[in-house]
Symmetry: C2
Subunit: 380 residues, 2 copies
């Protein structure tokens, strides 16, 4: 294997795949990045078995030559050293050549580097997915949907299935749900798919989705989602992002949502978030995060928290609209802030069934999103 390549393009591609390198892997070959060179260009691969990322560098881009292939071939190079040394090479032109025993010579300007490479035959093969089930989503929407749900996954390994986000697609609607028993976030969107595609109980680890989100571009482009038996593949331009589907059945979260409510409150999202943030500062010092919301009268909501050691925070906010019974309810303010942060609406509707019943929150101007927070059972 021998090639000349422009440093910046190699660097960019390395940055894409290193998100799949885990420092805690027990499989030596997976500490490396696989490089495959053929007449089409250069393909880099990295994997931690949970996710695998491939990034392709073409021979040319917009008419400019990026890569010169002298001899096709493959090698696996230690990810950390390879990544750092490429970043710091003195010249923008880089020559990479694999010699005997996978010793790889990298030269750039006055610098000569020899890296002990590994046998690419030992590198695990990526899954071959049948591309029957493809849904195409705009990168901007996908990024937003992941951001609006993934924060609510469970971080506890006691029920592994809840560390994932549930994806389902039916009748042209894509729906994502995350839930950790004390809160739930769901978001859906209308997607035009070709043919009659439907999938259910596709659960993807929250951690993997956070990595995916770093790769999704801000500018809009279609992302193809390929759903297979135990893997999902996201195609982002020249990047292929594979992630494992978590084993097990996701619980039915619809039962958690009350069917009727005593009270409906509409309030300014930003003002509520800011007041809860101040009360959270105090409750966080107590390590409880408990904040109380009291509907004082039709026009006034009070947010408060108190600590015998530190003091008290109290604040009153005007309601936009309040229908139903007045009540006082305590909740985990961190969970409430997480939800308020991702709600994309100036006003929010909060529905209460009673001080011991789940709190339901929706943006005022669309029904594509729902957040649920369980109240604290306090004695006051």
């Amino acid at each position: 294997m021998k090639l000349n390549i422009l440093k910046e393009h190699l660097n960019e591609s390395i940055q894409h795949v290193t998100k799949a390198i885990s420092s805690r892997t027990t499989i030596p070959i997976l500490t490396g990045i696989k490089i495959d060179v053929d007449t089409d260009g250069v393909t880099l691969t990295a994997s931690d078995t949970e996710i695998s990322i491939q990034s392709h560098i073409p021979i040319e881009k917009e008419g400019n030559e990026i890569v010169q292939i002298l001899t096709p071939g493959s090698v696996v190079l230690p990810a950390k050293f390879f990544t750092e040394i490429i970043k710091k090479l003195p010249s923008s032109d880089v020559t990479i050549e694999v010699k005997d025993n996978f010793i790889t010579w990298i030269s750039s300007g006055s610098a000569e580097i020899q890296i002990v490479g590994l046998d690419p035959e030992e590198y695990p093969l990526l899954p071959q997915l049948e591309e029957n089930n493809i849904v195409s989503v705009s990168s901007e929407l996908l990024k937003t949907m992941i951001r609006q749900t993934t924060f609510a996954v469970s971080t506890s390994e006691t029920s592994p299935i809840l560390t994932g986000v549930l994806w389902s697609f039916s009748r042209d609607r894509l729906k994502l749900i995350a839930c950790d028993r004390l809160r739930m976030a769901s978001r859906e969107a209308q997607i035009e798919a070709e043919g009659e595609i439907e999938f259910h109980n596709i659960v993807i680890a929250g951690k993997s989705l956070n990595e995916l989100n770093k790769l999704l571009p801000d500018q809009n482009m279609p992302i193809d989602i390929v759903v297979a038996n135990n893997q999902v593949l996201f195609k982002i331009d020249r990047i292929q992002f594979y992630t494992r589907i978590l084993d097990g059945a996701y619980p039915d979260t619809s039962k958690l949502i009350p069917q009727s409510f005593q009270t409906h409150l509409t309030i300014d999202t930003r003002k509520l978030a800011d007041a809860i943030d101040r009360a959270y500062l105090l409750s966080r010092e107590e390590k409880t995060n408990i904040v109380k919301m009291t509907l004082k009268d039709e026009k006034t909501v009070e947010i408060s928290s108190s600590s015998s050691e530190l003091g008290k925070v109290t604040e009153q906010i005007d309601t936009h609209k309040l229908d139903g019974d007045l009540l006082s309810i305590s909740f985990n303010s961190k969970y409430m802030l997480d939800a308020l942060k991702v709600i994309d609406s100036d006003f929010i509707q909060i529905c209460f069934r009673g001080p011991m019943q789940p709190i339901i929150m929706k943006p005022e101007d669309h029904s594509n999103m729902l957040h649920l927070i369980m109240p604290y059972r306090t004695t006051t």
Copy 2:
């Protein structure tokens, strides 16, 4: 105690003093910030016994009223919560009032906060320094001198005196020295002082100097340095920074510096630093940081490092000038990079006495700075 104050000024002053708050203090009152209010304005104080910082907020600045004093007085408030809540207050106007038992009421816009305060009488008094020995240095120069030496202090507590920087002043020259047995950095400068001031063996902890450097402004202003028996006070505009002088005698570092040399090398500082940085990447993976410099001939220096597991990095750089014997010497590349980073000269002069003797480095265009690095004794 009661006052009205503009949030941004209170906030700025809090940011100054919190640098002296230690999360690991065992003295409860020192987890707080002391607030003193008198007819001159507001003074905040924080201390971790090693350093103490005072910041003063005047009644008005540039003709604008900043503080309205309603009742003078004092209180101590828990630093972390106080700092965070002030930052997040909804309005720019803040009222602070101390009521019974030091309970402190803070109000701003719709937010009402009560903080359990502590008795200011319990707060330790700051040292009263006799202002006989004052040296005035420009903030820019002081900042540079601290940055160019402090990195070389010892981080090991086995000889505490070496965790500090030695300050001396004599015949209008201020000199700073840091040394950790394997390297040394020194920097001096001409300072005009009034009267015949002289001090020696003033050792200030490197950690304290790093905190001081964060407070020194980039724009130029004179900083008064007051040296007393066991404290040094730095006066930075409205901030007073007190730091303890370390106990013990600093070793005589002049004996470390060879009096004559076999070889003098002049070389491009940036090119040398970049080449060593690449070799360092490999040696760091081996956890040795060993890099070898070989003077090949009058025109060529080779920088290299190698690792049986990872590979090899080799690079040749042109010399600017080379006089004396050729040699090959190994050293800790991290130490070399630290020194090269603070050398403010395009070319550097490196002096060698032999492969087992200290390496001396100086900027080519002035003699105010000297770096020493001990070589590694390798068998190759």
